[in-house]
Symmetry: C2
Subunit: 234 residues, 2 copies
Amino acid sequence: MTNTDASFPPERKRGSGVKVVYELLRDEILDLVLPPGSPIDELQLAERFKMSRTPIREALVRLAGEGLIDTLPNRSTMVANIDFLNMHTFFDALVLMYRVTTKLAAQYHRPEDIVIIRAHQARFAAAAEAQDALAMIATNAALHSAIADAGRNPYFTGLFNRLLDEGRRILRLYYQSYGDRLPKQFVDEHEDMIAAIAARDAEAADRLAKAHAEQIVKQIQTFFSRNERIDIAL
Amino acid sequence: MTNTDASFPPERKRGSGVKVVYELLRDEILDLVLPPGSPIDELQLAERFKMSRTPIREALVRLAGEGLIDTLPNRSTMVANIDFLNMHTFFDALVLMYRVTTKLAAQYHRPEDIVIIRAHQARFAAAAEAQDALAMIATNAALHSAIADAGRNPYFTGLFNRLLDEGRRILRLYYQSYGDRLPKQFVDEHEDMIAAIAARDAEAADRLAKAHAEQIVKQIQTFFSRNERIDIAL
DNA sequence: TGTATTTTATTTGTCGACAAAAAATCGACA
DNA sequence: TGTCGATTTTTTGTCGACAAATAAAATACA
């Protein structure tokens, strides 16, 4: 080990800076640590990560490309708002992608995919058992992302992952307010879906995914209809 | 007019630089002026556009986010290749998005949308009449993008526009090689689709879009099956 | 002549600084 | 005291330069 002097800068590897900033900022946005509308200060971030504004800006450009932050020209950039008015477009897209990716997984998966999927499902079940809302949100997204991967269509997985990200923000809001009452039935529904995928039953996979997705959507919708105040809060 | 001295730099407006580079580079990639695999040199671009590397790099980061260029860490960046091996995933996604966006347009369009759509269709018809392959490719993408806009689902339009972009590259290859023989029937098919949309007949819109999309896919597939050499060329 | 190793050149990632644009502050005037 | 306009401050977009990483060239050696 060279550089025994602890006062030296952490000496990040060249090129790793952007990735670190991008991923951490992304997580903070999706977990609502940075709530929608939060201003993003480049100088502040540069100071925080001990690097110049250049890599910070590159990370921000990427996040903007994914729609996670909004950038006003020559002016402030902030965490993208959740568009409650057009929530139905999100639900439409989510339901369709749930169906398509699950169906394709049933058709095109390989044996090793099932192992990965089951591992994610186990993690989700553990989170549900522990009543850990945050872990449930994260593991649920990871599970469905893994299912989509097994379908092997990068165009669908790309959109689906974006939707799951946006969903993480919405679900976060959902659970935060409702005091972590968690529907255990999702575990069983996941089991049925995985069984259909493993059996290569595309029709059943599609049907189960549709029911699963629509039920999630329904729960969130009833939640929001009971909490109009949220419209004002943002 | 100030700045009568022609030797002065063009004096671009602050912030417009990235946009210019991004859009021009994008068009060149989609029109195969920059063929897949072309190396992209930042210095060269900086010189060409008379600006520093910083805005160039920002444009490249955006293009990379859309998958139009591939960036090797610390090494060269090049125009993304067309993935002929997994072309079917592209077709699957394209057909589905054709259907969904057209159906949503039939359901959610407003009267003014139809005006815009018909204007695009007129341009497409003119291009087809003139046997202008390049114009046909561009106006076809613009028409379907306009239809998708009328459906008002940003998630679907986002993916669809990406697919149409990738389709522009593929069609460009198609027409280039086949000496600009252009199927006029697309004009009629478009007319039928627009009529179904205007009549708010979602079922018909879906059916017509499916047939339209599958026919395009079929044509491209038979083309590629007759030209295996392309696999080698890339 | 062919291969390994050092040297040079090219290109990328990062930095600090400056200039333009917008917002925030201050001050004149009613 | 309130409003409009000028001034200062903050923040963004761009620049030129430098250093790390890689590729290319040159050299040494068998």
